[in-house]
Symmetry: C2
Subunit: 325 residues, 2 copies
Amino acid sequence: MIRIGIYGYGNLGKGAEAAIKKNSDMELVAVFTRRNPKDLVIATEGAEVVASSDILKYKDKIDVLVLAGGSATDLPKMTPMLVENFNVIDSFDTHANIPAHFKNVNEAALKSGHVGFISCGWDPGMFSLNRAIMNAILPDGKDYTFWGKGVSQGHSDAIRRIEGVIDARQYTIPVEEALEAVRSGKNPVLTTREKHKRECFVVAEDPKEYERIEREIKEMPNYFSDYDTTVHFISQEELKKNHNGIPHGGFVIRSGETSNGVNHVIEYSLKLDSNPEFTGSVLIAYARAVYRMAKRGEVGAKTVFDVAPKDIQTVSYEDLLAHTL
Amino acid sequence: MIRIGIYGYGNLGKGAEAAIKKNSDMELVAVFTRRNPKDLVIATEGAEVVASSDILKYKDKIDVLVLAGGSATDLPKMTPMLVENFNVIDSFDTHANIPAHFKNVNEAALKSGHVGFISCGWDPGMFSLNRAIMNAILPDGKDYTFWGKGVSQGHSDAIRRIEGVIDARQYTIPVEEALEAVRSGKNPVLTTREKHKRECFVVAEDPKEYERIEREIKEMPNYFSDYDTTVHFISQEELKKNHNGIPHGGFVIRSGETSNGVNHVIEYSLKLDSNPEFTGSVLIAYARAVYRMAKRGEVGAKTVFDVAPKDIQTVSYEDLLAHTL
């Protein structure tokens, strides 16, 4: 059994916990929390809830520690710190800061002799993996990434900060015509507006404010002004009933030529009922690779680019040859 | 430069040759042929055309030998034989015989100290890779593979063997309703007939024979009788004009739950203008991994399951972190 710890018990931590239940070679040893452990009820019988300050007591009881923290402030400190004593895996997703994060984790991991796996999930993660493989196979081509239909937490938060808004949910939606143009192999040049549109469901105090709120949303720079944005005002009850999930997904498409006029389109897509549960499932599959790499004596920072597919499998290599190849 | 040899110069050999031109870290040293080398004109200036009987003279001049032979009779003998003196890669695609082929190649490769990479292409190959990763991420789910729209050489040949048929081209086409049912996450149970249909373009000598030929096609066991099959009689000119390409493609879809009622759909698809050119491109990308594995001293039979994505890249790991992850 691979002994897993989960550090943090928000949506992602719960997603990782759900994923462990689907993998019979894994067991959840403990959830570590910055809250009072007594206030936390987890979904796994037999697993402990432990104060994060007590984590070093679990140094020899955990094979891989899943870090379910946020990328903005948690993981940049948390991953280098915890890799001093554990093999860890995180879902660090601030793309621009990945090289710096890799460097910090790598230094600490090399020093302590652990594996520090970073930026695992679907983007970064599965989307990155597919982009890398597609590029190697079709070097003469063009990449496209579309996100959605899915909830953007950042955009939902931005709407909530507008005066008079009680609650909001924002969906990022890929534009179907753009997807079709890419799939046709035409290699179109697409603007931000042509690729995605944004749909907002907003609960506001006063109907007299609707017009102002809608205008403030649509004109918000970076978040909305470059997109075709639709705003719907609904009741808190309706928001709770119809927009309570955290679905997401997207498309990575590469279109390229192998000789003059001979074109190929490779497409990878995800349609996810729950963004954190899927991300948790990717983390848990790659935690298996972390375990195996550490057992072989590999150390340092790692990413999806370092993992041979056989290292995330529960089935034997012989089974893969007979049934999957 | 990675020095490549191509063994066999049919459609697949030509596809591999085209792929080498798109990869600046590779050069084609020689094409080996069982025909008279003087009769063969290849598309690469500076590369040699050599009789296959002279191949041992190239033992130190080639890093990876791409085996562009057929799976029925060529590769089962060719791959174990050539791995005695070369690092090789093949596209062996008789799924049921992969474990036996792997065993034969592995024994010969271990004995000689080479890498023998087998079953590379898109199915087996990219489809297998995606099936393996999808299964690891969503262990509680169901796989679906659809092929097409594309030309099936075996089915076209079967039609050509019917009396009175001059030429024929058969397309395998996935049934759109079945694809949609799978994408919806309903995990449908689908019969052979529900998954694919077959469309045949036939050139026949005598219009009075059309009815009999159409009946013989539609009733042919294994090939057509389990499918909804459409037959069109056309002229040789029309066949040549509109059905001269070798397009193919397909879909691998996995649909699975991470917790009760929370479903996810992962889809990988290919739309290929030329089956052999795409297969050649996959072979050439993985030839890079063969080269690197051999340089590291790895030996034995290998498949796509053994390759970390970084090993098929031309760009540096730092570039991958900064731009692809």
